[in-house]
Symmetry: C2
Subunit: 322 residues, 2 copies
């Protein structure tokens, strides 16, 4: 296609995408997204990607919804500990449960990954998949975030919802590839992001088939973070993605894997948390969502790095209703 | 809906489905399929299932294509051993490779599962996913079945292809859940059955992410058979299916799991290999595709059991071109 025609097409696409990406300020990130999608969906372009290979993968925590002051799934686990405490009198004196019951985040964090896994085992396993689903659904429709006093599922990013819609309108298949629990996400994520349960990938506890039911077992089967993200993409999708969206070094392997797609033009986008006022500002030194190696590499490799503060008109959907 | 209206709708559906299920003789199986699909897709029916929950799972070997005189993937592994033999002079004197090089199926089978796994490790691992894909693609487009002298991918069941199409036309999402290797199926199955790679579930070798590539490791990660089928359905799909299609006791757990769906009306269909002339006849005593417990249980539970010889007008697509 001639350069002039392509420019014309871009202008038309921009006009059309204005509505779809309404919460994105005109800027580098919005331009990169539209330029990429326009070029790979144009059958006459050398960069054209057939629909079956338009695989887009999204991290969840910090990429599609907030992850501060702690992963929302941790709040869920803590609320479950409190709900179940009367059946477990020993928790009053045993860590990490004691810390949860006393709302002592410092003591909880001091227990490290081992302590957090103990919380997950105690609250996420030993029941059928259906019983676990029910506890998640009840929580997600009731529990509120300490800072915003809003349901956790209201703390999704409006610009990213628009991006998901824009990609799907352009016949991309959108997947979640999260460090969060696959079974924690599935009961509500489909409704919130419009992504069906079979396109949700995440960390998994072992399950077994017993008496016609799926029973959740007290053992981690897969921690879907860092180098495990490409591995689980391979298992679940079986194709190298063409577009990857993340916010931290935990997403780096998935984005690097996508960038190394030799067959197609690719897009890598990092959400950079720069907005202390409307959301949070953190990167290189954060314990949650550490964004250091990826920030340097992304800048060197012309990845799209979204300056949340300056590029997003609104962060959360509820701001639109003000 | 009134009984009369439903009967009228059924007649109309039958007329329409006649074309789609053209290779099915009028009989119990065809009637069961159409009655089920008609009732669960009618928004006015008490049995209506929303599109997002129309999950249909299919075994592959013996259900969508033939599996005699041995699983086709075994022929692939044997052909790979022969192709790689010059690099492995020690194979001439070491089982199970010696048996393969001497075309001694008895000696090969005497080695049991352990021997077969050794073959798989030697031929399916130690390379990138892309390199493995290439060997599968080359083989599937060249190797021929010993009895029919046809490409293996020609030995798919025409009536089942029509059934897949019919279900998808009625907004079911079709998945493969096979004991065969997920990475053996993916390079050609999408094209043959119209099922995208992310809807193919099967046995998996371990993989790792190294140097921007997926590397296949010499260890089995999941043997997708019997009780593991519901487990992998849970991991990959995250929903209990409403329709399940198999042919052996290896599919029983998946079909029982589907039948135990308390929310929706379900369908279970077993392909019974009764046609020695056009395909093979085997069931209770077969080493491959043993169909014993499932046959009894299925009969007791009114599952649909397809009598291949009497209910299928043709078995393979190439018969249509005669």
């Amino acid at each position: 296609m001639s350069r002039i025609l392509f420019s014309l097409l871009l202008v038309l696409s921009f006009t059309h995408a204005q509505d779809t990406l309404a919460s994105w300020n005109d800027g580098t990130s919005k331009k990169n997204i539209i330029t990429y999608v326009t070029s790979v969906t144009d059958p006459k372009s050398a960069d054209f990607i057939p629909e079956v290979d338009r695989i887009a993968v999204f991290d969840n925590d910090g990429t599609l919804w907030s992850e501060q002051p702690a992963y929302f799934q941790l709040f869920f686990a803590m609320d479950r500990v409190k709900a179940l405490a009367s059946e477990h009198p020993e928790w009053k004196t045993t860590q990490p449960f004691k810390a949860v019951l006393e709302d002592d985040m410092n003591a909880l964090m001091a227990g490290g990954t081992k302590g957090l896994l103990e919380l997950v085992v105690a609250t996420h396993t030993g029941m059928t998949d259906k019983e676990f689903d029910a506890t998640v659904v009840e929580w997600i429709n009731k529990a509120k975030h300490p800072r915003f006093n809003r349901l956790y599922k209201e703390l999704v990013y409006q610009p990213m919802l628009e991006l998901l819609t824009y990609l799907r309108a352009n016949r991309f298949k959108t997947f979640i590839v999260s460090g969060g629990g696959i079974d924690f996400m599935r009961p509500f994520v489909s409704e919130v992001y419009g992504i069906p349960s079979e396109q949700i990938i995440g960390s998994m506890m072992e399950v077994a088939y017993e008496n016609k039911e799926i029973i959740r077992k007290p053992k981690l089967a897969s921690l879907d973070d860092k180098e495990v993200k490409p591995v689980n993409i391979h298992y679940h999708i079986g194709k190298r993605p063409v577009a990857a969206f993340g916010n931290s070094d935990g997403d780096f392997a998935m984005m690097e894997y996508t960038e190394a797609n030799k067959k197609y033009k690719t897009l890598q986008l990092y959400v950079h948390h720069t907005d202390e006022e409307r959301e949070w500002a953190y990167d290189r030194k954060s314990h949650i969502g550490k964004f250091d190696k990826g920030l340097d590499y992304g800048n060197e490799h012309n990845w799209t790095i979204v300056d949340m503060k300056n590029e997003w008109k609104v962060v959360y959907p509820f701001e639109l209703k003000k």
